[in-house]
């Protein structure tokens, strides 16, 4: 049995408190008045920050004061433009803390869901190497239910209590003037969005619940009684079918609809590859941590080696999908699709290209050597890089649509990560204390214990 060390518990609670303070601070500082934003833009213009846009504003304000009578009409339109621009920036600033918690909440939820999918794959494929890691996977996937509900609550909350800070299709005023969104309204409306989300979360957590139940029942069953294992096998196969449909729809709903004018067919797969690789990475990190504390003595270097191979392969799979999506749009350069990457290239160049280095070049070079995949510290180091890369991946999916060029990884973003990291650790390590760490009833457990590569 695993005991949640007090030190780690205190650490995760401290993360939650620290993160919460930062998140509250982010929300408190994001409500800027019209005048505040106006003076801020003027100051930026004099520093040459957003030179082009803002100097226009300055010109219009000085125009206004100097000759108001002669060019009445042009001035009026200038004033309107100026007002719209300031309001646009004001809204972007207000969106930032919402987007920050949304990105962090989704990132940790996606890890848990990725682990759940990996777990189901292990059952459906009757893998012989992984049963010793099943309890670790079950522990991590305990976060699917709370994590999923939090993500959905933030998404729906941004439309109900917030000021449509994440999804512009939730704003009736925007929809009224937007033919494209109007055509998608039968899919993109808040009640149906919430119901879909609840169905997905219900399906995923039901599988997580029953898989865990059967796994523990198999432990306590007679040695010749494999009924629970067979049930696990069947529900794993069923879950994988459900998962691949719902994961795809979830990616349209929760991520792609922040840009309701844009669509991509391989987006679901792209998001899947990211969640799969981060999930596997977290399995490796948690297993290495527990092993270093002496709780997983039946996990040997070959198990770590296999996880590292999965990290390596899935990182390349992620890159393949990232590049396929990018290259097809870049190559044909159709204006209605390409704006998605144009904004990312203009305003997010470092994170957009940097994550390819983090998610592809580093894992490729660090995990290619077979010997390195057996060294725990090497796997941990690569794992941290991969997780950072996939956080930035989600960041670059959400932020351009909500805060535009007003992005920064500052207090709101970092505290949101700390908050959900703390919560994630608290939930998964508490779940790990609930059952023995070796799934001893699994028919493949002997093979797995003696697994050697």
């Amino acid at each position: 049995m695993y005991t949640f060390s007090n030190k780690l518990k205190t650490f995760s609670v401290a993360l939650i408190i620290l993160g919460l303070i930062g998140v509250v601070y982010g929300f408190m500082t994001s409500h800027k008045s019209f005048e505040d934003v106006e003076t801020m833009l003027a100051a930026e213009a004099s520093h040459g920050g957003h030179a082009v846009e803002a100097s226009d504003d300055l010109a219009t304000t000085s125009d206004m004061t100097m000759d108001s009578a002669s060019e009445g009409i042009t001035v009026a339109s200038h004033v309107n433009e100026h007002k719209e621009h300031v309001e646009h920036v004001q809204h972007q600033i207000a969106n930032r803390p919402w987007s920050a918690i949304y990105v962090a909440a989704f990132f940790f939820f996606m890890i848990a869901l990725g682990v759940l999918a990996f777990y189901a794959v292990q059952f459906a494929s009757q893998a012989g190497w992984s049963p010793v890691l099943f309890r670790v996977m079950e522990g991590i996937s305990a976060y699917v239910l709370p994590g999923g509900l939090i993500v959905l609550a933030i998404a729906v909350g941004s439309g109900i209590i917030g000021d449509y800070n994440l999804f512009i299709w939730m704003d009736p005023e925007v929809v009224a003037n937007d033919k494209i969104i109007q055509n998608k309204e039968s899919w993109l409306n808040i009640p149906w969005f919430a119901i879909r989300g609840l169905i997905f979360i219900a399906g995923w957590s039901l599988y997580a619940y029953f898989a865990r139940k059967f796994s523990i029942a198999q432990d306590n069953a007679d040695i010749n009684d494999n009924r629970n294992f067979k049930k696990s096998f069947r529900i794993a196969a069923g879950f994988l079918v459900f998962y691949i449909y719902t994961e795809s729809i979830m990616s349209w709903d929760w991520i792609m609809s922040v840009d309701p004018h844009w669509f991509s067919t391989l987006f679901g797969w792209y998001l899947f590859s990211g969640m799969f690789v981060s999930g596997i990475t977290v399995i490796a990190l948690v297993s290495i941590y527990l092993r270093s504390r002496g709780f997983l003595n039946f996990v040997n270097d070959s198990h770590i080696h296999d996880l590292a191979k999965f990290m390596f392969g899935m990182s390349i799979f992620w890159t393949y999908l990232w590049f396929s999506q990018f290259m097809l749009i870049w190559y044909s350069n159709i204006p209605e699709e390409v704006t998605y990457f144009v904004t990312r290239f203009q305003d997010y160049q470092l994170p957009f290209l940097g994550m390819v280095v983090l998610n592809f070049v580093f894992p490729l070079l660090l995990l290619m050597n077979s010997d390195y995949k057996r060294m725990s510290w090497f796997v941990v180091m690569t794992g941290v890089i991969v997780l950072a890369g996939h956080y930035i991946d989600i960041f670059v999916m959400i932020m351009p649509a909500t805060v535009g060029d007003r992005w920064f990884i500052g207090i709101p973003e970092i505290s949101a990560v700390l908050l959900f990291a703390g919560l994630f650790m608290l939930v998964i390590f508490t779940a790990l204390t609930k059952a023995p760490l070796l799934a001893k009833g699994n028919p493949f457990i002997k093979e797995s214990e003696h697994f050697h590569y």
């Binding site: 290259m327 870049w330 190559y331 350069n333 290619m368 077979s370």
Partner: protein, 178 residues
């Protein structure tokens, strides 16, 4: 041509062979060669063979392929005749690089795979008209053969190999290649 005597111990089971190899190694005899009809898992470790460096050569070949593809596309598409083909930016390699990635990938794989295979053939001396080296035809079907050279210790070796479960022990005069 100089000749020397070798001993051929024949086994019919890979588990027996494995334990025989361990025994012979423990008695500090040098095993010249082992012939098996299929890969025996762990045999290289038991014999103490050095790990292969084929993967390292493959990495180097792949890197060469990558550099070659970059040079090739850069020379043709950017330097030699930078035409405007469908509005693609041929001002610099980087600007047009997404279009070159499929070629870069395929040439990397091509070089890594083919040159590694050729390296394997060269290192293991395999070619179409090569004379086969089976000491005993049955080793391609269902027998395992361990070859140890004799240096005035024929009797002890025969005794040892009999103990390890060899079904047949032959003493063979062998022409030395070098």
């Amino acid at each position: 041509m100089e000749t020397s005597k070798v001993i051929h111990a024949i086994y019919t089971d890979d588990d027996v062979l494995m334990s025989a190899v361990k025994r012979v190694k423990a008695e500090k005899y040098h095993i010249d060669e082992i012939f098996t009809p299929f890969p025996v898992h762990g045999l290289d470790k038991a014999m103490g063979l050095a790990p292969t460096r084929l993967a390292i050569t493959s990495f180097i070949y792949g890197s060469i392929g990558l550099v070659f593809s970059i040079w090739l596309m850069n020379f043709i598409m950017i330097e030699d005749w930078p035409q405007d083909i469908g509005g693609k930016p041929s001002f610099s390699y980087l600007e047009n690089s997404p279009a070159f990635v499929p070629i870069m990938f395929e040439l990397t794989v091509f070089f890594a795979a083919h040159l590694m295979v050729i390296t394997f053939y060269l290192r293991s001396k395999l070619w179409p008209f090569k004379k086969a080296e089976n000491p005993d035809l049955r080793t391609t079907d269902d027998h395992f053969l361990m070859e140890i050279s004799i240096h005035n210790n024929q009797d002890e070796l025969v005794n040892l190999l009999k103990e390890t479960g060899a079904v047949e022990i032959n003493i063979v005069e062998k022409e030395e290649a070098h």
